[in-house]
Symmetry: C2
Subunit: 254 residues, 2 copies
């Protein structure tokens, strides 16, 4: 059955969606069967892979109106499927709070389709609310994108705290997949300082691959394509291909 | 009594905190009495102005343990006070849902100190949950930072929708203060495309001042200072001073 990886960080704009789309697409390019689950009401992963027709979304699955299987949508890329999000998921946050075992809803939804995939990546919203809690409870591990900026360091302690709480109360086997540095700009002293700090704190949990700031990455979602389809020769595509290779390397023994 | 402006956008990392800190500091430099209210559990506005000793935060005010006046902290800058945030505000989101008239809690808290200031700016978290709802209900107007990136355009419709809902149900006089373009990079075609789109959509509600991407802006919070104290000659400081001037110009008749 698939390994489930949540891509989470409550700090906004650090590259969660960009990483979810591009690690999913790059690993799919290595012919692994991949499901991308978008649980952010902003639905950026959904539009970022060019999916606009979404008859069934994660909303209907979480509130129990539809089966998980019915929500799976084929993307423009072989080996890459998606469960789309929708803006009405904002309402679900309050609705889910009333459910029994509300932290386990996504976990049980994904268990029914887990055998169809090798890896499932979950794109989380910028908060530590009930949706991210569901992702952390459903996941085997968490990949944490950290932007090479000052504010990005501040929230890491709270995120690790929350991961510990989830491990103790809801999901004992939740592991740290790793920490990924994003939007690195080699011209900036600030970027180098952040890398040093994060290396000290995380050691070998820090991915060796660093994602550089690259305009082709920020252009690709407006074309509804992952970077390796939009511009395979760009620095951004090379970075995410290297990330996919490192990810598969670290998961070889699984 | 003070005019209250919420700085909101559920998209993460678009420059809400950077704008809250720097418009507050630049308007304070014009000797207006300013209160910055940080209601984001990440507490980036709080650390960004160098406030680390926070005996009372917005958390104690919202749950009713402390008076608003007790939470006001002087910053290192004349005319600029802050009500700090704290990471335990994450818990308040669920707590507040149980309160009666839960959308009005911040509004009544701020009413008690409104006469002490000319302007009050509220830095919101990247979500449309109960904390942002409180800010929109307390505010006279909303300033919306929009990053010059594709994903930043996607969420605008939902935000305007939410503002309408708040206006109809909780705060009939809520107006749009304006839309501010942030992290503009003149070398990128993408930036120019976003500016064109936003101009078409918002007309004269779009601030003429555009905030350019400027590394001194992203360095300043690590020194606990607004940009005009960290590097007054930088492009970033000039942009935020121009923004403060335009803001005061637009509010001259108030
Ligand atoms: N390596 C990169 N180079 C250039 N731009 C990037 C890079 N990574 C992400 N971006 C851009 O930065 C912005 C923020 O990234 P993204 O939306 O992926 O972050 P996020 O963490 O998912 O945000 P949110 O917290 O709102 O969910 C987007 O406009 C994206 O296109
Ligand atoms: N004009 C700018 N030039 C360079 N960097 C900037 C600029 N504005 C903001 N930044 C940096 O971009 C990052 C995101 O900005 P900021 O934290 O203010 O956004 P936010 O909308 O408050 O994020 P969140 O959604 O997490 O609250 C920060 O690291 C900040 O220092
Ligand atoms: Mg995202
Ligand atoms: Mg912020």
């Amino acid at each position: 059955p698939a390994k489930i990886i949540a891509i989470a960080n409550q700090k906004g704009g650090v590259g969660k969606t960009t990483t979810a789309i591009n690690i999913a697409a790059s690993v799919a390019a290595a012919e692994k069967r991949i499901l991308l689950v978008d649980i952010d009401p902003q639905a950026n992963s959904t539009s970022g892979v060019g999916v606009f027709d979404t008859p069934v979304t994660i909303y209907e699955v979480l509130v129990g109106i539809k089966d998980t299987k019915e929500s799976i949508i084929k993307t423009g890329m072989p080996y890459l499927d998606i469960i789309a999000s929708h803006i009405n998921l904002v309402g679900a946050e309050v609705e889910l709070l009333g459910f029994e075992k509300r932290e386990y809803i996504l976990r049980s939804s994904l268990n029914t389709i887990r055998d169809l995939y090798d890896y499932i990546f979950i794109d989380c919203p910028p908060s530590l609310g009930i949706l991210t809690l569901n992702a952390l409870t459903a996941a085997d591990s968490v990949l944490i994108p950290v932007q090479c900026e000052y504010f990005a360091l501040e929230g890491l302690g709270k995120l690790l705290n929350t991961i510990n709480i989830v491990r103790q109360n809801y999901n004992p086997s939740l592991a740290l997949e790793g920490v990924l540095l994003t939007m690195y700009d080699s011209r900036l002293r600030l970027s180098a300082q952040i890398v040093e700090e994060v290396e000290k704190y995380f050691g070998d949990k820090l991915y060796k691959t660093i994602i550089h700031r690259n305009v082709r990455i920020s252009e690709s979602p407006s074309h509804g394509k992952p970077i390796i389809l939009y511009d395979a020769l760009s620095v951004g595509a090379k970075n995410y291909i290297a990330l996919a290779q490192e990810f598969l390397e670290r998961n070889r023994t699984d």
